[in-house]
């Protein structure tokens, strides 16, 4: 190679600038074109290519002395006519794909300036193909042809470009590197040119490697070495003919063409005879060596490039084998270790190796030897009528295209024998050092802009199907369809007469078993004992009679009774979004569950939640399947409830109402329930405390708890529950009481403009402050004007963010004062110190409390994104005795 002088290098650099500038301006102008304009240009280019297919084929053959003119005509037609048929209706401008089910569209963005390499084996068809693809995708292309085929490649580019220009294409959108001794060097400059956006490399391994090492995005191809397995079920004469068609196509220059046949021994003689009958030459062992000497370059071990695309007779002659008739193809039996055989490589000429195998396993393994012997990721073929064998073959072979019962070369081109995309550029995936296994085409020459619209967030509402409320509604049990009931309760149920009330209300003749070992904090061993008892009893109905713990336990007991194979640890896995959680619960429950609450607090009778104690933490199980089938809201069961429990549980329900109201999952459905629950609590709790025997007010309180339960069952709770869960588990505090000590702090915290907003699609606007204000208004409170001007008196100033004072502050303060007044009236502890917890113990437990609260799922639906330091502050702020806000 002659050295290039500095001046020559300068000239080449200027030429590269000139080519890329033309292409760059053209790409810019192309961005304005509509789909109709593009399609008109593509049509004109295709017509031109079809008109010139024979002329260009002839010229390519004359220039390269490779292949067969008639086959090159076919290649040119595939690259134009077949390609056009596939792409003419494809959208490549603007919105190209609508995905309504994903609420998303894809919009096309051209690549820009493409440097296209054209190989010596397909010098005109590749140019036709790439030009049309670039026009369709509004890219400009600079062709770098192979030196040995530059005249024909560049003529193809020129003819097609002129047709495009005539149809309105931008000036300079196709350009090319002229044939000269400096062609290679100019191509190298272009590889690294900053104005080239993508290299579309089809050619020899060296050029493709150079393209990849340029550091630019590149669409390359890999080397081929196509194994073709001929299974015993194949149609032998047809397979023989298809293989001849394929391997002789353009004298074997197509890289997906067959290189080694792997033939089931049962049919090997028949197939070889058929090849012989059809005009192929079958070599004996000595001749195989002669052929190998001729077609394999001893220095590299690869094919002899001088024989690429040459006819079989010439190759035989070069090998010193005299034949006096026309030979279509040369077949060489490959004896010995296949992987080491000289002919087990790519041979782009009508020379084909073959081996016989004794089983499908051996057939696939030999095919893998060829596949991984220089052609990984490219192409493979199979002739077979057994779908199972085809599937096994396809699963094992690493090839971008596995051609079935068709010629692998023309089959690989796509569009003729199958529905593969038409291409002259075969992606080989990572096996071949490429980014794609596609039949590269217009799809690969676009940038795809995805425009996802916001998800349509579906809000659903689920609750217990049958709810019977009013004092005396226990009578409904009589109509329960059950022969064998299993009552789950606590020990106090019997003492308070509740158990007998239930037993008396069950249908006549119904057998009843009772499990009354549920304590205040049920754990899994208790659940297992209950399930064991149920296995002996075999009930058709479970009656959960008690407070929240009993009802929760009953839900879990039913779950494990109906589905013993479930794993509690798996079901309790945390989740961010209910719709995407990994845990799968059963769809249907087999045993009916009747929930009879005896406290007015948790609302568990209508929720999908169940909480289980696990050491110092509580685990939650949440699913629709946990919702009881029947809830009986009969205030007679709460008549004898002690004052302290009445107040604790009412504060639990109050917290449910307030947290569900401001939850990020709240909806019009849950808001109504939460507001009415609030109103009932503020109305009925003072009256109930004044007159504990008043069934009317007990009933209102009972209804409030159920309504608030429906609200949290669908909107969930918030940070207050996270804090209460942690505190309750650590210091053994009843749930409602633990909730009460944080309530004043969390209302204040959530009513401030968050330091960090919650990112969740169903909560497009932070509205916690106005919702609290709405709650205050709903229960008849008046705005506290005093507070608007005296914000600093608020005891937890660190919750405030700058400029967080708002128009709702007065109403929020009114609500906090109302909660404070209700708490004081009920004698409810409103701070941690009022629970009697020692400050030192509390501070020592703080890290653990914070970690537990931070991991609690409840914080995920809080309207303010809870930062860890804020959780610390919430715990700290809740300690000191409360004064009226």
């Amino acid at each position: 190679m002659t050295a290039i002088s500095k001046e020559q290098e300068q000239i080449l650099t200027e030429r590269a600038h000139s080519l890329t500038r033309q292409a760059r301006l053209s790409a810019a102008v192309f961005s304005q074109y509509s789909q109709a304009q593009v399609d008109r240009i593509v049509k004109a280019m295709t017509t031109c290519a079809i008109d010139n297919a024979a002329r260009l084929a002839r010229m390519a053959h004359e220039e390269t002395r490779m292949g067969v003119t008639e086959d090159k005509v076919l290649k040119n037609l595939v690259a134009s006519e077949f390609l056009y048929a596939q792409i003419k209706d494809k959208r490549t401008v603007g919105v190209i794909k609508e995905l309504p089910e994903l609420n998303m569209v894809e919009v096309a963005e051209p690549i820009g300036v493409i440097l296209g390499l054209a190989p010596v084996t397909n010098p005109t068809s590749t140019v036709i193909f790439k030009s049309i693809c670039c026009a369709k995708t509004r890219n400009s292309i600079i062709f770098s042809p192979h030196l040995m085929a530059a005249e024909s490649s560049n003529l193809a580019a020129k003819l097609i470009y002129e047709a495009a220009l005539e149809a309105g294409a931008p000036k300079g959108f196709i350009t090319w590197v002229d044939k000269s001794s400096r062609l290679r060097r100019l191509s190298e400059i272009l590889f690294a040119h900053p104005e080239v956006d993508l290299i579309f490399a089809t050619g020899g391994t060296q050029m493709v490697r150079a393209a990849y090492s340029s550091g630019k995005p590149a669409l390359g191809v890999g080397a081929g070495n196509t194994p073709v397995y001929v299974h015993k079920t194949a149609n032998v004469p047809s397979a023989a003919m298809e293989i001849i068609i394929s391997k002789t196509f353009d004298n074997g220059t197509e890289c997906p063409s067959e290189q080694t046949l792997i033939i089931d021994r049962e049919i090997v003689d028949e197939l070889i005879s058929e090849f012989r009958r059809c005009g192929c030459y079958i070599c004996d062992e000595a001749e195989v060596e002669k052929i190998a000497d001729a077609v394999i370059d001893a220095r590299t071990g690869g094919m002899n490039y001088r024989l690429v695309g040459q006819p079989a007779n010439l190759i035989l002659e070069q090998a010193g084998i005299k034949v006096d008739r026309h030979i279509k193809m040369i077949l060489c039996p490959l004896k010995g270790e296949l992987r080491l055989h000289r002919l087990a490589v790519e041979k782009l000429m009508p020379v084909l190796g073959y081996v016989a195998v004794d089983s499908v396993e051996e057939g696939i393994n030999r095919a893998l030897d060829i596949n991984y012997g220089g052609g990984t990721g490219h192409t493979a073929g199979i002739f077979c009528e057994d779908d199972g064998v085809i599937e096994r073959y396809a699963d094992a072979i690493n090839a971008g295209r596995i051609i079935v019962n068709s010629p692998s070369s023309i089959g690989g081109l796509g569009g003729v024998y199958n529905h593969l995309n038409t291409t002259l550029s075969f992606g080989c995936g990572t096996g071949g050092g490429n980014i794609t296994t596609d039949n590269v085409g217009i799809k690969n020459l676009l940038n795809y802009k995805r425009v996802p619209r916001r998800k349509n967030y579906v809000i659903s509402f689920q609750t217990t199907k049958n709810i019977y409320s009013n004092p005396g509604s226990i009578e409904h049990l009589k109509s329960l369809k059950c022969k064998n009931a299993f009552v789950i309760s606590s020990r106090s149920a019997s003492r308070r007469g509740h158990l007998s009330m239930v037993k008396e209300s069950l249908p006549e003749g119904c057998h009843v078993d009772v499990f009354s070992d549920i304590g205040t904090e049920p754990d899994f061993p208790t659940i297992q004992r209950a399930v064991q008892a149920m296995r002996l009893s075999k009930p058709d109905a479970i009656i959960a009679l008690g407070g929240g713990s009993v009802l929760d336990a009953a839900k879990i007991i039913r779950l494990f009774y109906d589905y013993p194979e479930l794993n509690v640890q798996e079901l309790a896995v945390n989740f961010l979004d209910f719709h995407h959680r990994m845990v799968e619960f059963p769809k249907d429950m087999r045993t009916q569950l009747v929930a009879i609450p005896t406290t007015s607090g948790t609302g568990s009778e209508v929720t999908p939640f169940a909480v289980l104690k696990d050491g110092f933490r509580k685990v939650s199980m949440i699913d629709e399947c946990m919702i009881p089938d029947v809830a009986i809201i009969d205030a007679q069961f709460t008549k004898s409830l002690p004052r302290e429990i009445t107040s604790d549980t009412a504060f639990d329900a109050l917290t449910h109402a307030l947290e569900s109201l401001v939850s990020t999952f709240s909806s019009d459905y849950t808001d109504g329930l939460a507001l009415e629950a609030l109103r009932l609590i503020f109305e009925a709790l003072p009256e109930t405390l004044k007159n504990p025997g008043s069934i009317l007010h007990r009933h209102k309180l009972h209804n409030a708890a159920t309504l608030a339960g429906m609200a949290i069952g669908n909107a969930s709770v918030g940070v207050n529950h996270a804090l209460a869960h942690a505190l309750g588990a650590r210091f053994d505090i009843p749930h409602g009481r633990a909730n009460g000590v944080f309530l004043l702090s969390t209302i204040e915290y959530n009513a401030q403009i968050p330091s960090k907003f919650v990112s969740i699609p169903c909560y497009p606007l932070w509205v916690a402050d106005r919702k609290y204000a709405r709650a205050a208004q709903f229960i008849g409170l008046k705005e506290e004007a005093h507070a608007v001007d005296s914000r600093p008196q608020v005891e937890d100033p660190h919750f405030a963010t700058e400029g967080s004072r708002g128009q709702y502050d007065g109403m929020v303060l009114a609500l906090r004062r109302a909660v404070y007044d209700l708490g004081r009236l009920a004698g409810q502890p409103l701070s941690v110190s009022e629970l009697g917890i020692d400050l030192a113990d509390y501070q020592a437990a703080l890290p653990e409390l914070v970690e537990t609260a931070f991991s609690d799922m409840s914080v995920r639906s809080n309207p303010r994104y809870c930062l860890a330091p804020e959780i610390v502050q919430l715990f700290q702020a809740a300690y000191a005795p409360r004064v009226r806000p």
Partner: protein, 111 residues
């Protein structure tokens, strides 16, 4: 024609504005005439420009060079996004400057 006072200067500037209707090529002669006249500043209004061809880009680039050589200012105003994108993709620095945009210079891949 409009006039504009330069900050801190007492002299008025003579500014002419040309609106391109449709394709840029239609306004070429008028812009050339203004540049040849006594105008200090030419504003090319692209608000109704619908298409720029490769020749148009080349002409604009050359126009800016000419204006610079005779110490005149040419500014592009009301450039619609389709045309602004053409300037962006073309990577011609002077066009971006005249359109009041930031440099198109590629900084390379970054995330």
């Amino acid at each position: 024609m409009s006039t504009k006072k330069d900050e801190g200067k007492t002299t008025d500037k003579k500014i002419e504005r040309v609106r391109i209707m449709g394709s840029l090529e239609r306004a070429v002669d008028e812009i050339d005439r203004l540049l040849a006249g006594s105008t200090d500043e030419v504003e090319i209004d692209f608000s109704t420009c619908t298409f720029i061809a490769v020749e148009g880009l080349e002409w604009l680039e050359e126009l800016l060079l000419r204006a610079d050589s005779v110490k005149r200012t040419v500014r592009f105003v009301n450039v619609p996004p389709t045309i602004y994108k053409v300037f962006k993709i073309s990577h011609i620095e002077s066009l971006m400057k005249a359109a009041g945009g930031v440099s198109s210079t590629k900084l390379g891949p970054a995330c």
